[in-house]
């Protein structure tokens, strides 16, 4: 009887296991069929829409890659890419909508503009738009909590990952001293008048450095730098890069100047400009103005859905990294700029994230009072 019962239990267990082993691939197949079917439906609907309107931050290299690759992949869907300056774009969309016009599908610009767009109620959550397993998987993006730039972690995804730090002229500022002091070098008396800064009072790439310096050195030191060290504000990051190259500036905060420095190098100019280091004490982690979000009430919802899935794939992320010169946030995409790679596991100041937005505004406001001219 016991043997019979044992045989029965074994039989049931093995048959269950067998059934499960049969079910599992069947489920995979059905899941595979599920997303594929949904994807095919969305692509077909997108082709019927025939149009997609995207706004993006200025990056000609990225723009060219996207236009070329999209045309190759989806020739039936006309892609209209407009470069959108943060200061003008969001107010323009708000005005359009107040007049009943809804013509934008995808937001692919900087995080600051993105936060403004969220506050104006212009965006939809991004995750429900994802269909492709490759896009849906948060692992290569370092987890959604890390990858999203908004407070709620659901609207603005950072597509790029680059460490932004200051640049210094090694002939004016000794590398040993720069490495030893890090950002504290800004407080050295001989640095007075030798610091150049892409005007941090506006939306430019010089602004997040205010947060970095305040977070790393504290408010008093930040004030001392702004008043006593008298940094020179310039109107473009190109101007600050040139000042460092020529030795007019010892050190400069300007955001992504790699492209400018590359131009100087390619021209055969001899100079020794180095970055201040990629540690959390000397740099912040940014996204190079390359975020991704979808507008609500978008006129081409299916084309937008195809685009956001498409742009998040490894293949497109690789192309964008090469085009823009900035690493993808995807960990499985090879680095195109090892200098801009974050140290794994290090806790950086995320100066462009929503949480730091209020601090940035506070600092900008105080800066105007400290330097009224």
């Amino acid at each position: 009887m016991r043997r019979l019962l044992l045989a029965l239990v074994l039989c049931i267990a093995s048959s269950t296991a067998f059934a499960q082993s049969l079910d599992h691939p069947r489920n995979e197949v059905s899941g595979d069929r599920g997303w594929k079917a949904e994807w095919d439906e969305v692509v077909a609907a997108a082709k019927k829409e025939g149009k997609l309107v995207v706004c993006m931050s200025p990056s000609v290299g990225r723009r060219d890659f996207l236009l070329k690759q999209w045309k190759a992949d989806y020739p039936e869907i006309d892609l209209s890419l407009s470069i959108a300056a943060g200061s003008t774009f969001v107010p323009a969309i708000i005005t359009e909508r107040s007049a009943g016009r809804y013509q934008w599908d995808v937001f692919h610009s900087g995080p600051n503009s993105g936060v403004t767009a969220i506050r104006a109620g212009l965006l939809d959550p991004l995750l429900p738009e994802l269909i492709l397993p490759e896009a849906k998987d948060p692992a290569p993006w370092g987890g959604w909590d890390e990858a999203f730039y908004d407070r709620e972690r659901k609207y603005i995804l950072g597509l790029s990952s680059d460490v932004q730090t200051a640049y210094y002229n090694a002939k004016v500022l000794a590398p040993e001293r720069a490495n030893r002091l890090g950002l504290k070098v800004l407080l050295e008396p001989d640095m007075k008048g030798k610091i150049y800064w892409f005007d941090p009072r506006g939306t430019g790439t010089g602004a997040p450095f205010l947060v970095l310096v305040e977070r790393v050195l504290g408010r008093e030191a930040w004030r001392k730098i702004m008043v006593e060290q008298d940094p020179t504000f310039v109107s473009s990051h190109g101007a600050s890069a040139e000042a460092v190259v020529r030795g007019k500036a010892a050190i400069a905060f300007s955001g992504p100047v790699e492209e400018n420095l590359r131009e100087f190098r390619n021209a055969g100019l001899q100079f020794d400009v180095r970055d201040l280091g990629h540690t959390p004490e000397t740099a912040y982690l940014g996204t190079d103005g390359a975020t991704l979000a979808v507008f609500n009430k978008r006129p081409h919802p299916n084309a937008a859905r195809v685009f956001v899935n498409w742009i998040m794939t490894k293949r497109i992320a690789e192309g964008m990294a090469v085009g823009s010169g900035y690493d993808s946030r995807r960990s499985d995409v090879p680095s195109v700029n090892p200098n801009s790679r974050a140290i794994p596991g290090a806790k950086y100041v995320m100066a462009q994230k929503d949480e730091n937005d209020e601090l940035l505004r506070e600092l900008q406001s105080e800066l105007k009072t400290l330097r009224p001219k």
Binding site: L67, S80, A85, T95, A99, G202, E263, P372
Partner: protein, 579 residues
Amino acid sequence: MTRAIPVGDASVGTGFLRLYRAHTAQVLLFVVLCAVAFLVLYPIGTIVHLTFFGENALGVFGTIPWQRAFEEPGMVKSILNTLKVVAATQGIALPIAICIAWLLARTNVPFARTLEFGFWMLFFLPSLGVTTGWLLFFDPDFGLVNRALISLGLADGPTFNLYSYWGIVFVHITTYGLAVKVMLLTPAFRNLDASIEEASYVCGAGRLKTLVRVVLPLMTPAILVVLLMSVIRGLEAFEVELILGMPIKFQVYSTKIWLLMANSPPEYMAAGTLACSILAFVLPLIFLQRWASTRRSTAVVTGRSSTALLELGRWRWPTFALLAAIVCCMSLLPLGLLVTGSFMKLFGFFDLEQIWTTSHWSKALADTTFLGSFRNMLALGLGTAFCAVTLYALVAYCTVRIESRLRSTLDVLTWLPLTIPGIILAFGYLNMALRVPIFAILYGTIGALILVSFLSAMTLGVQVLKVHMLQIGAEVEEAGRVVGGSWTQTYTRILMPLAAPALAVVGIMVFAATIRNVSNIIFLSTGDNRVLSVLQVEMLSSGILGPAAVIGTVIVLMSLLAAAIVRIVSVRFGVQARG
């Protein structure tokens, strides 16, 4: 003042016809006034409304943006700086421009037309490009002139520093300050009836006395218009101050507006209040200009006009040499720098092993959007210039020729688009393009950009034509009617040919101003109607400076090409300025 005549003021025809024609004139004026009032006041009204009612969603009246704008730290200082720069620039540039225009138009200086074209070139050059060019010479650290002086032992340190108040004034004079005045005053001087000057000489007055007591008073309307335009432009200019002023903490009023716009999110309402304040400041000047221009007759083109030029004698060639040197330094040199700069690996770096390259051109021309942007630019420039030449002339005619109190209102209205900085007014244009059904059809197309560009250039175009028409005596038109010409015939066959030189100048200026304009069209530009100037901004923002310089060069060369074509066509068909 020039005697204004009703359109139908003919001495032929029945009383009914005269009455009909007189009413037609009033109707024409009324229609033009309504159209201009709507097109001008709608965008400006949007801005004004925004500054008082835009602070809260309920649209309740408030003055918070005004308080916020004027509580900006350093505001008083920036206003004083603006006035200092404008006063110095205009104080220096205006007398020089008057002298140059007079020499070019009223004397027998050799190659006057070629020299005049040299000043046109200066007008076409972008102020940013010219500023960078001058930095190459006068930067305190690496400027070629300073380095040469030091290496020659003539100086111990930098002699010139463009990063200074006088550096800013100098760049303003050498960009917009001088060129536009010479460009606009020369045709006005050329229209002057030489017999008036001859009468002065017969009465015993010398050349200087004739210039000061006879010529300049007759030129008052033209000079005032040009001066006022320059003052307004000076109040709004910020590019030069941004580059040269920011490193030395020299801020002007317009850089305050720029900074408010650059905030995140941009403070449109506060920036709008500052812009509206310029309008409030300029309005009395507009009325003053109008009063001074119209209080007496300044007609200089009559049925008996003489075009004799003043003989310079032995001063002819020295005068030419002086003017040629000015043109070379202020026009040809920056133009040369702009073109050669687009072939340099690094602009301003002459100590490289390999200085020259064509890679910027190949990169720019290979840009995926270059051709489309180029086509759009041509459509925008030509479309706007065509609309400008045809419609501005009509508006100018109404302000000068039709007897009515309303014409003063029309004249003042045409000044308004210039008084609000482009980037602020662009917001008003966006609202107009979205909310007015007839314009909403154009939204997102090149047509919307043409509309906005047409409105932006209205002050320049209408005022130039107005001054020109003021100089044409009423009897010229009356003569046409006496021989039985209808109003249309008189307008198209007599007045327009006489105004052809001014129309050509306006067409070219509008074309040049339109194809390089970004601020006014920025809100209406999309990937589909992108023009070259917007592509240039995209490249500059992306840090691609070489190809951006190429695009800038292409824009300037297109302006010069258009100007050259107009000149050739004018000469070929005999549509030349008098003199």
